[in-house]
């Protein structure tokens, strides 16, 4: 009873083998069932997330959020889906029809593919790849391709501008993102996500808080959320790359974006917050699944919170922040982590000494970065305006009036 998911899987396997199917075919069918479950859960989660994000947005911006359709507006996303399904598809004249239609499909498929390697619980994982981190980076690039395809094939200037901006942004922030992903790989000595979760005796966010911070910031840029949503800056280029998409084709981009944000939460949970780890998670994998989901929602909430709090940045600020700040910082972190790891392994230190030294080193880097920033950055000079009296005092105003 401690592991209902594998119980069902074993039962199904026994049933299929009992029917006289070969072992290989049984494995294929089981993988197919697993894939269906992952895809369905992903889509249902997105429907819930759309409601949740709008509700959070309402609370943060001091309004109510959706509250008409159903209790607490819970049926709002379903109403949205029905509405968007009954909209017409318009394909602009001069569009490259094949590429134009592939782009929204790839936008969803690329994000769903990441879920194949994420360990949900100690016994529940789609597939245990030994190159998991590399796979995540490779599949993430599909999403970038879908944006570029949408922008180039739409025959629209705004879409083209949005695509250029987003590609510049995505490829820039990929570098600090991958470098920050190296810290869990160094600590766990493996690229497999299952090994990384199992190696997190203290969570990796304690060993390397700076890497987690860089990863979250770079991921925010990767999913094109505010403050990094230059590609769909409404006031400048209307809607960016998906301007010519209508109906469910636009919906696919929307679903892909929400699913990607949730995936970022899952990656933060897996790589830095210990994945399914928690009290009694080893004995009861279902508990691990719950821990994993809670941690994922924490990661998701952070991204949503930042999105709703800060304004959009300019494109030169976006590129400066990446190339002149995040990339050097992540490289410095990588060098210091590698050297410290080497030294600590040489002196054969205990696990808690290792964690403490790594944590203190990260804090030191953050402090040094802040000091360097204080020295090097110049505050923008504002012109000082003298205070102007808003209203004159009554006795002076009466004295200045000409007496009749």
């Amino acid at each position: 009873m401690s592991d209902p998911i594998n119980l069902i899987a074993n039962w199904l396997q026994g049933l299929l083998l009992g029917l006289g199917l070969s072992v290989g075919l049984t494995k294929i069918i089981l993988s197919f069932v697993g894939a269906v479950v992952v895809a369905t859960i992903g889509m249902l989660t997105v429907i819930f997330l759309i409601w949740l994000e709008r509700k959070i947005a309402g609370r943060i911006q001091d309004r109510l959020g959706p509250n008409r359709a159903g209790p607490y507006g819970l049926l709002q996303p379903f109403a949205d889906v029905i509405k968007i399904l009954t909209k017409e598809y318009t394909t602009p004249d001069g569009a490259d029809v094949v590429v134009y239609n592939i782009a929204p499909i790839m936008a969803v498929a690329s994000v769903l593919l990441i879920w194949a390697v994420i360990p949900f619980a100690s016994t529940v994982v789609g597939t245990n790849l030994n190159v998991g981190v590399l796979y995540i980076m490779a599949v993430g690039a599909f999403g970038l391709l879908s944006i570029l395809m949408a922008g180039l094939s739409s025959n629209n200037k705004f879409a083209l501008l949005g695509a250029f901006r987003s590609v510049a942004q995505l490829i820039s922030y990929e570098i600090p993102m991958v470098v920050s992903l190296l810290m869990p790989v160094i600590f766990a000595r493996s690229m497999g996500l299952v090994d990384i979760v199992e190696a997190q005796m203290p969570w990796f966010i304690i060993l390397s808080p700076l890497a987690a911070l860089i990863f979250i910031i770079a991921s925010m840029a990767e999913v094109n959320r505010a403050p990094f949503d230059l590609m769909e800056a409404e006031s400048e280029i209307v809607a960016g790359f998906h301007i010519e998409y209508s109906g469910m084709k636009f919906g696919m981009f929307y679903v892909g974006e929400f699913l990607h944000v949730f995936t970022v939460g899952a990656l933060v949970a897996t790589l830095f917050l210990g994945g399914w780890r928690g009290p009694w998670a080893e004995q009861y994998p279902i508990l691990g699944l719950i821990y994993f989901y809670i941690k994922t929602f924490v990661g998701y909430f952070i991204v949503a919170w930042v999105r709703l709090t800060v304004p959009r940045i300019r494109i030169d600020q976006m590129l400066d922040f990446n190339w002149k700040f995040l990339t050097p910082l992540s490289l410095v972190l990588l060098i210091i982590t590698a050297v410290l790891d080497r030294v600590l392994v040489l002196v054969n230190s205990e696990r808690w000494v290792y964690s403490l030294v790594m944590f203190l080193a990260n804090i030191l880097i953050i402090w040094a970065t802040v000091e360097v920033l204080k020295k090097t950055t110049s505050k923008p000079k504002r012109k000082e305006f003298p205070m102007r009296p808003v209203a004159m005092a009554p006795e002076t105003s009466t004295s200045t009036e000409p007496s009749s």
């Binding site: 598809y89 929204p104 194949a116 510049a168 494109i315 490289l331």
Partner: protein, 118 residues
């Protein structure tokens, strides 16, 4: 080895099938009224001037070149990060030299103004 990639292949096919199916649903329920002006590319309500695909700004090209420089470096880092503890001091120093050479290029690009957007 190959069996580990089987679920990924299945998920890939399924994800594409699911997305195609949902887009197809939209084409069933949605209206289809063809009007010439509706199919015009959007340009703030005006008739579009000139072609929709233009030349891109050269600054995007610079960023792409920088990305290639750094991304290849990062791909070298990934296998190194897995095995560098077992390879010993040699791997560490080797990678520090590698990062050092790369940083020279990075500083050069910065001084040359490749990172400025103006």
């Amino acid at each position: 080895m190959a069996i580990e990639f089987l679920p990924i292949a299945i998920l890939f096919v399924l994800a594409i099938a699911l997305a195609v199916f949902i887009v197809f649903l939209g084409s069933i329920f949605g209206p289809k009224r063809y009007i010439n002006t509706k199919m015009m590319p959007y340009e703030s309500g005006m008739t579009p001037i000139g072609p929709g695909t233009r030349r891109m700004n050269v600054r995007f090209y610079l960023i792409a070149v920088l990305f290639i420089l750094f991304d290849i470096e990062v791909i070298f880092f990934l296998p190194w990060a897995v095995v560098f503890r077992s390879l010993g001091l040699f791997a560490l120093i080797e990678m520090l030299v590698f990062i050092g050479i790369l940083l020279v290029g990075y500083v050069y690009a910065w001084k040359k103004g490749a990172l400025e957007w103006e």
